[in-house]
């Protein structure tokens, strides 16, 4: 142990300890440290008196202000509900057609509806609502279940292929995986489906398969997609004669669809959004479709 000595630079004494050349000064604790320590402790004690803080046995100190976060949240929610009341009742009760004719209502739809759409729908359908592989475009005026406002509202509420009790159901069977058709038949059927929209693209070999494909179509597909392949809105079966495709209209994708089937899911929203918001979204979806046209 070395002796305490005076540090030449500060003029302060050292403690007399030394470790591998490191010494320590015997500087007293600076005033600001003591002051702020006292201050922060004082503020904390004051806080403990005012707010809920310390537990004891089965309960905790409530604080003399008697404030609790549950009650604060409830107040916030009721304040927010009061603000929303200015438009919510109108949107949840007025006829959708009447709202579509109301310019003021539609201005509101375009601002608030856009935000609702981005927060709830854009993850699948895209911020521009143009969809992508597996997720239908909402701006091409092609509707699986129908584009009327009541139909769209129903789809929003119950979803497609969900666990909602009133869900819409639509499934493209896995003809290959389930052994309903063999590889040759699937090839012929693929050619036939391509021929419905783009007959000129088919090779000679494919054209030769068309009679077999047509027969298979009548047996396996027509019940949902209709005799002519124009689809059936009652069961959500898409039109196969146009240029709109959900998963892709190229030969490989069509063959994959026939082999493995499809069962896309649209979530149900009636337990997550209220009536006003659902109707607002319906109007918004119809509106962007109309504007893009």
């Amino acid at each position: 142990m070395t002796k305490p000595e005076r540090d030449p630079y500060t003029g302060l004494m050292t403690t007399g300890h030394e470790w591998n050349g490191i010494k320590e000064l015997k500087t007293p604790i600076p005033r600001p440290v003591k002051f702020f320590l006292a201050l922060t402790i004082l503020v904390s004690v004051l806080f403990w008196v005012l707010f809920p803080t310390w537990p004891y046995g089965s309960g905790y100190t409530k604080g003399i202000l008697n404030i609790d976060q549950r009650q604060l949240v409830a107040e916030d929610l009721s304040r927010s509900a009061a603000l929303r009341a200015s438009w919510e009742e109108k949107f949840s009760t007025t006829d959708l057609a009447a709202l579509e004719a109301d310019a003021d209502a539609m201005t509101f739809v375009r601002s608030h509806g856009a935000r609702l759409f981005k927060d709830n729908c854009a993850a699948c359908h895209g911020t521009d609502a143009a969809g992508g592989p597996g997720f239908p475009s909402l701006v091409d005026d092609q509707w699986l279940w129908g584009g009327e406002s009541e139909t769209i509202l129903e789809t929003l509420k119950v979803g497609i292929n969900t666990r909602h009790e009133d869900t819409r159901n639509a499934e493209m069977l896995a003809f290959g995986d389930q052994g309903l058709l063999d590889a040759d038949q699937i090839r012929a059927l693929t050619s036939y489906v391509v021929s419905l929209s783009r007959a000129d693209e088919l090779s000679e070999k494919s054209v030769a398969q068309l009679p077999q494909g047509k027969e298979l179509f009548a047996e396996n597909c027509a019940s949902c997609h209709g005799e002519t392949g124009k689809g059936l809105r009652d069961v959500g079966a898409p039109n196969l004669t146009d240029d709109y495709w959900i998963y892709g209209g190229d030969v490989d994708t069509i063959r994959a669809t026939l082999r493995h089937g499809r069962k896309g899911v649209m979530p149900f929203w009636d337990q997550r959004l209220n009536e006003a918001d659902l109707r607002l979204l319906t109007l918004y979806v119809r509106d962007i479709g109309a504007q893009t046209k």
Binding site: M1, D7, Y9, T10, T14, T15, H17, W19, N20, G21, I22, K23, E24, L25, K26, T27, P28, I29, P30, V33, F36, L37, T40, I41, V43, S44, F47, W48, F51, P52, T53, W54, P55, Y60, T61, D68, Q69, R70, S80, A81, A82, L83, R84, A85, S86, W87, F108, S111, H112, A114, R115, L116, F117, K118, D119, A122, T127
Partner: protein, 546 residues
């Protein structure tokens, strides 16, 4: 390394390596259809390499008996180099995930490279790989110097270092395979956790036994901090990771806690990991290398005392501020918040004690980038502890929580404080350890300093901006009670800040690469003439070879 072990030590190292092979073999067989099995195979492989090296050099000459009266620095050398390698790897991954937020498609369509898996690779790699190795390495060095005693054992330091690194490798490879316990900063699964418990107990025992044979009447401050780090991390790690594995042959486990109790345990752990891993341990580092480099006495012994006990006592209460406005009872949040506010005082007293120690050495701070690293580290320590206490105030937290502000705060601490103090310590330590006159290039240290500082500042400023903008956008309501912005709008608004952050992170990564190169070139420089002193007391528990 093996040449510094006696034959007896070589044979006990062989037993331990054999044990590793057996343990790994058990995991490999029990978990053959699982990632657990792969990790078991990796342990078998590592144990076999160690065994092979030990057997092939078993009959080499034993170290001279005098060398037992010298400090044992081989483990520290290993730890320093490995820490720098982890730094380069983990900051690279960090910058990659930063770019993923700008270009989300940069995962190359692979599962292992998705954001959710790479992010814990980055955090574990930096905190445990880089930080952990740096702490173990410097703690061994500081412990011996300030106790004037050789490490109490020549094999156990290797158990600690090699075992700890195997744990880190199991952790990061596990994440890439999709294995996670889903607890932030405690993601490794049960078998890796148990493995670490054994390693950590060895570390603790080694530390206490070395301290017990010290030749100094008092225990130096740095050792208080290192001891707190080792002891509390053990407690935190064991309690937070209590879990029931699905089976002994499966990596998956379920936490023993559920619901809000699980959340509270996790953030009690999370916050004290910040306190005792990232603060206490690195303060230990600061308390040795800063006064050594500055050549100045510690400003105030009393401030060291109140800071140490203040930090140790107060941090334990503060974890609940991570759960403001959640299902956690209001009173728990409030209690954590008040302790967080008091906590700023001992934190600033520590930073102040470090900065005031530099009085009388400011010209060195100007001229010597190594000391400047430690000075800037103390400044960032003060800055981020103030920021942390500020963010712990509930109304402030309602703005900052879940935003990039938190990310900025963490990086002010991790880059500005933890990494900078380590760089300062390493540049002081490396020439001492390898007995070189100086570092290979002081200009490269200078370059590293400015890259690290500018990278940190760019990072932190961009996250402050994006965090506060996010917070304000999320809480903005229109007059009719609807939200003013969608979440997507806030994501769009972040784009420029995410680019800036990734650029800042890249600068910091580049500095790390330069640091590793500089250290490597220093090791390759010729050694100075060295006269061993051999003044340490004999190591009682190691019998001299006959």
């Amino acid at each position: 390394m093996i040449s510094q072990l006696t034959r007896d030590e070589r044979s006990s190292a062989m037993y331990l390596s054999g044990l590793l092979v057996l343990f790994g073999g058990f995991l490999a067989i029990a978990g053959r259809n699982d990632v657990l099995g792969w990790h078991g195979a990796m342990l078998v492989f590592s144990g076999a390499i160690l065994l092979f090296a030990l057997i092939s050099r078993f009959y080499d000459d034993e170290p001279a008996r005098e060398s037992r009266h010298e400090y044992y620095d081989d483990p520290t050398k290993f730890g320093v180099v490995v820490a720098m390698i982890w730094l380069v790897f983990a900051t690279f991954v960090g910058d990659w995930v930063a770019w993923l937020l700008v270009f989300p498609e940069a995962t190359f369509d692979a599962g292992w490279s998705s954001f959710g898996r790479l992010r814990p690779v980055h955090t574990t790699g930096v905190i445990f790989g880089f930080g952990g190795n740096a702490l173990i390495a410097t703690s061994f060095h500081v412990l011996q110097r300030t106790s004037r005693a050789r490490l109490a054992g020549s094999v156990s330091p290797w158990v600690v270092l090699i075992g700890f690194n195997l744990f880190c490798i199991m952790a990061v490879t596990g994440y890439m395979f999709g294995i996670t316990a889903s607890k932030e900063y405690a993601e490794p699964e049960w078998y890796a956790d148990l493995f670490l418990v054994v390693i950590w107990v060895v570390y603790f025992v080694l530390y206490v036994r070395t301290l017990a044979r010290r030749q100094e009447p008092h225990i130096y401050v740095a050792n208080w901090y290192f001891m707190a780090f080792i002891l509390v991390v053990a407690i935190l790690h064991i309690i937070n990771n209590l879990a029931v594995p699905v089976s002994l042959g499966h990596a998956k486990s379920y936490s023993l806690f559920s619901g809000v109790q699980d959340a509270m345990t996790q953030w009690w752990y999370g916050h004290n990991a910040v306190a005792f891993f990232l603060t206490s341990g690195f303060l230990g580092m600061l308390y040795y290398y800063l006064p050594r480099r500055a050549g100045r006495p510690i400003y105030s012994y009393r401030m060291s005392i109140i800071s140490f006990w203040g930090i140790t006592f107060l941090y334990m209460w503060a974890g609940s501020h991570h759960l403001h406005y959640t299902a956690l009872p209001h009173w728990v949040q409030n209690l954590g918040m008040t302790f967080s506010i008091i906590l700023v005082v001992p934190s600033w007293a520590s930073a102040g004690n470090a900065l005031l120690t530099l009085n009388g050495a400011w010209e060195k701070v100007r001229d010597d980038a190594t000391l400047r690293f430690m000075f800037v580290a103390a400044v960032f320590y003060g800055l981020s502890t103030f920021e942390g206490s500020f963010m712990a105030i509930r109304p402030v937290n309602s703005l900052s929580h879940y935003t990039d502000w938190t990310v900025g705060h963490v990086h002010a601490g991790a880059l500005g404080w933890v990494a900078m103090i380590t760089f300062g310590a390493f540049y002081t330590l490396v020439p001492m350890l390898w007995n070189r006159e100086r570092m290979y290039s002081s200009r490269l240290i200078e370059a590293h300093f400015w890259l690290a500082l500018s990278g940190t500042v760019i990072y932190v400023f961009s996250m402050w901006n994006s965090g506060i903008i996010q917070g304000l956008m999320w809480r903005a309501y229109a007059e009719n009670g609807t939200l003013a912005y969608s979440f997507m709008d806030s994501v769009d608004a972040m784009a420029p800040y995410y680019v800036a952050r990734a650029v800042g992170g890249f600068l910091f990564f580049l500095g790390g690469v330069i640091g590793l190169y500089n250290i490597w070139k220093t090791i390759k420089m010729p050694a100075q003439a060295h006269t061993p002193i051999y003044d340490l007391p004999p190591v009682v528990d190691v019998e001299p070879a006959e």
